[in-house]
Amino acid sequence: MAKISIKGQLDSVEEFERTPVPERHWKGWGSFIGMYAGEHTAGTEFVIGPLFVAHGVTVSGLIFGLLVGNLLAVLSWAFLCAPIAMKARLTLYYMLEKICGAKLAAIYNVVNALMFCFLAGAMIAVSATAVGIPFHLSMPSLNDWLPNSIGWIITVLMVGAVTTVVAMFGYTQVARVASIAAPWMILVFVAAAVAVLPDLGVKSISDFWTVANAKIWTGAPLAGQSKFTFWHVVFFAWFCNMAMHIGMADLSIFRYAKKWYYGFSSATGMFVGHYIAWIASGILYSLFLMESNYSAVFAPGPIAYRAAGIAGAICVIVAGWTTANPTIYRAGLALQSIRPKWKTWRVTMVIGMITTAAACFPALVMKLLDFVALYGLILMPMGAVILMDVYIIPKMGFKANYAETFNKSFNIAAALAWVLTLGFSLLINIYFGVEIFFLGLPGWFIAAIVYLVFSWMIQKSKLQVA
């Protein structure tokens, strides 16, 4: 979920921050295929797969739900994000500044930075579950929201401190480690799951479906967990990266693409990380459940260690760390864009401290599905605003890039689209009980309509005066 390899390199190319990427810097398929495969096999995958098991997904619900949801995610990258990226060849942040104005873009950056902090916090907690193995750390449980022991807090603080210090020194080397680790990490996921299949009772491939139904994705949620259906899986798989595709964060990546259809390269991330890795981590968790008599303990480290030994524990640490580290760095950059005079290392240190404090709370890991859905939902309306501004606003006879055209620092139409969408989502969540995973779809239409209506109201009077 976090941008790691190619994006790190792209970030260092500062001359394209506020100009379209020139043709000589456009990249081929290979860069995007590798980046997406690596980026979406990360620490989060050790949590999401098991949480599907905990939420009582059925085997058919998982297999077909992931197929449909991941396909929709790939189509969103290919048909919504990549074509706009090719057309403008600008970063998300610069496009937002042109459309929404510097002040609203700054608010977006702060919100984005906060979301990054919590995501990185969850990954520090995931790494801590592996670091704590030799110390026989008391691991958190599925229903834990608060830290369960002093040992947990100390371990998290240690992991957080190391992660923050490394991030303060920049993240070129971390990005490099992440890209080197990616192919190995994917294989560890697969190997760990394949190796424990006999312990679950799968003696041949033909046994898999029967055993998966009976012992892995049984359709029965664990105590205290809500029941997930096929539709939960579809919408989660589609919207867990909503900020990136429909929310347009990956404009920053696809602005380097030679062709719009490179958006389909996201399929490597979806069908390796969000399909194979989620299934693999679900298999590992179900073995843990079976052997622990359905214990509520939820700790990716010991689960991977049981299946793959020290290599499995290292994989959890590396996956968590290589996701948390660039995420902290990125959160720092987002904040620094508001106050360019702040030293990067100081901002990163403050972000690291907030992140580490957040990581002490196991709720971040246990509620990762809800958090990831919320993360996408909160940032999605700006993607709808950009899409409308690029394709529809000019056809209505109005000016695109409102803030730049009219020299404004705050586009009220975009702000209202953002706030009203989130208000509407909250309303139907509270009063109609619609779960957070399903709010993104109606929310997108609300954001688009509100933006068009208020743009029409604002620009009509301005154009009449002109």
Partner: protein, 59 residues
């Protein structure tokens, strides 16, 4: 030439990470042996790969 050797060792590391698990599945190997081989594969991969993969990232 040395680059080629490093690449061969790296890929041997990846093979050691994945292949033994299928032998465990086909009941041709103990799970503990697989864990040691995965660790060996991990060491080989991380010891050799940084010398040839994404070296330009240093710049």
């Amino acid at each position: 030439m040395s680059n080629l050797i490093l690449k061969i060792i790296s890929f041997a590391g990846l093979l050691l990470t994945i292949i033994p698990s299928f032998m465990v599945f086909s009941q041709g190997m103990e799970l503990n042996t697989n864990k040691y081989l995965m660790l060996l594969g991990t060491i080989l991969w991380f010891a050799c790969t940084p010398f040839w993969m994404n070296r330009n990232a240093n710049n």
